[in-house]
């Protein structure tokens, strides 16, 4: 009742205009008796706003919240600082409660913000064309792989194995009906050996998926791998961590044909995994194969700049069964957050963000090297953002026991991933974020070192 506005006299006068005795009569004129019109759900009775919030707070308090400076879990989602302006802008009802901008004359705010988003994402990745957003990094990658199957007519999907397993699983789900087959290239000491790509990639290959940095945080030999990919006529698909691109070469420069990834670290909370957004950028050549919405600049009848959703003939509402994708609703508000975030930082701020994360990564690695009971896994590689570590020394194996100690010391220590990636003696993926000070990282490594070593 709280969200409907009609009074009993309103209802009576409306029924009179309609020419019906009751709402039930209107329903019964349309719905057969065998179906019925009266369902009483077995659900909790209605609750006041304050009681509702009390219940929600109780539920929320059952979850362990760790402050970002003690939160060393990443693996694709990161607790970077979200500038206050981002939250203010995306909370405005004009952005939050508007629909898809199908009537462009009264949706210029949303449309211009999509255009801004496309612009800053193009700058960040070095790619000419961005769509307006996808659901998440995983589904964005799946759509990229589908694009490669469609464009090449080939079905062999080569994925460098140090890729987020959630993403690989999603690709498998999406391409099964197309007959696509995933060929995984095992990592060699944590990174992809370009020779393995050369061996695996052939005239049947539609794409090679490379994560840069990869799932373990290691920087890959991306340029070489892209060149090998393209020599076979396959598409080079890059999965990137957008926070590294202020320092790492943009994939548009090293030869990626499609760039995808998870946008959450650009101004959004982790929110138990959603909603963030997927970004999807490509070359002009594949403009008409883009999935989802895209915004274009044009002019109005008076010659002023204006913005519209464009190239809509690709989309499901027009092309129906032959659409480039079935996506309709995307993650617009999340993409807006990213646009505000990147514009708040500016180009120099983005560079600083990446430098800060990379130097924190190196700081953490140095502390691990100095520790008694911890070691870097594959220390010869360059890490960015995520760091793969393991326990080292007599009587140390894995992190299971240490994890509980870390949690009770107020840390979220990271993700154990050893077994699923054929990495010996267990390993833990830990990540830095931009809210950590040197003291935070020092304390974390020291505490973990002691916990792994059997001390408290």
């Amino acid at each position: 009742m709280r969200y409907t506005a009609l009074t009993d006299p309103d209802i009576a006068s409306m029924l009179e205009v309609i020419g019906a005795d009751s709402i039930d009569q209107i329903l019964l004129e349309q719905i057969p008796e065998s179906i019925g019109i009266d369902r009483e759900y077995e659900l909790p009775a209605e609750s006041s706003e304050s009681a509702t919030m009390r219940h929600m707070r109780d539920l929320a308090s059952m979850n362990t919240v760790v402050p970002p400076e003690r939160f060393f879990l990443g693996a694709g989602l990161y607790r970077n600082y979200v500038p206050a302006l981002v939250k203010t802008v995306i909370s405005r009802p004009e952005f939050m409660t508007s629909y898809t901008p199908y009537q462009p004359e009264v949706s210029q705010g949303t449309l211009k913000s999509i255009f801004d988003y496309q612009t800053v994402m193009s700058e960040l990745t070095g790619m000419p064309v961005s769509n307006a957003s996808m659901y998440d990094g995983a589904s964005s990658l799946a759509e990229a792989v589908k694009l490669s199957i469609k464009k090449t007519g080939r079905k062999k999907v080569v994925i460098c194995s140090a890729t987020n397993p959630e993403y690989v699983d999603t690709v498998a789900t999406y391409i099964a009906p197309l007959g696509g087959i995933i060929h995984s290239i095992p990592h060699t000491n944590g990174v992809t050996n370009p020779d393995d790509v050369r061996e695996c990639t052939d005239e049947q290959t539609c794409c090679v998926v490379l994560s840069q940095p990869n799932y373990f945080g290691f920087v890959e030999r991306a340029q070489e791998i892209a060149a090998i990919t393209k020599a076979e006529g396959a598409l080079s698909i890059a999965v990137v961590n957008p926070c590294t691109l202020g320092l790492l070469a943009p994939p548009g420069e090293w030869g990626a044909d499609v760039v995808v990834g998870e946008g959450q670290p650009l101004g959004l909370p982790v929110s138990f995994g959603g909603p963030g957004f997927g970004f999807f950028l490509t070359m002009t050549e594949y403009l008409r194969d883009l999935p989802g919405r895209v915004c274009g600049m044009t002019t109005d009848a008076e010659g002023r700049d204006g913005y519209v959703l464009t190239l809509q003939a690709r989309e499901q509402h027009i092309r129906r069964d032959r659409a480039t994708s079935n996506i309709c609703t995307n993650h617009q508000l999340s993409a807006l957050a990213a646009a505000v975030y990147l514009m708040t930082l500016g180009g120099k701020g983005v560079a600083n963000l990446s430098v800060g994360l990379f130097n924190r990564t190196r700081w953490l690695q140095a502390r691990v090297r100095e520790s008694e009971n911890l070691a870097l896994v594959f220390p010869e590689n360059t890490s960015f953002g995520d760091v793969l570590i393991r326990g080292s020394g007599p009587g140390v194996n894995g992190f299971r026991a240490a994890r509980a100690k870390m949690v009770s010391a107020g840390f979220e220590p990271g993700l154990e991933i050893g077994a699923s990636f054929q990495i010996d003696d267990g390993a833990m993926l830990v990540a830095v974020n931009d809210q950590m000070t040197p003291e935070d990282i020092d304390l974390f490594v020291k505490t973990l070192d002691r916990a792994v070593g059997g001390h408290v």
Partner: protein, 131 residues
Amino acid sequence: MGDGAIHPDDRKYFKEHEWVRSDGANGRVGLSAYAAEALGDIVFIELPDVGSAVTATEACGEIESVKSVSTLHSPVSGTVTAVNQSAVDSPELINSSPNDEGWLFEVEMSGANETDGLMSAYDYSAYVDTL
């Protein structure tokens, strides 16, 4: 729209709104003025490749307007010998001059009787009046 002048009688018409003007051996294909008007602003076209075979009544390309996409059918069978690059680059030509400058592609026809089953301008104009 029954005005015969907008559907010139020097050519034949297919019911999916393509015209073909032929000399018996070669045919030039375009979109009818009726269809160009009905589709509205055409923004993109996809034509068959030069050298490819097209079959009468079958799909051979696509025409996109702002809010629609339509299948382009070949009115005749044969081998594509040319496409109108100007129309590909500036699809608005199809709206402004569907009968002349906005032609789509040329075909070396499989036989001289390829156009036999097609409508005259008069019949086509009468046909579109019923739509």
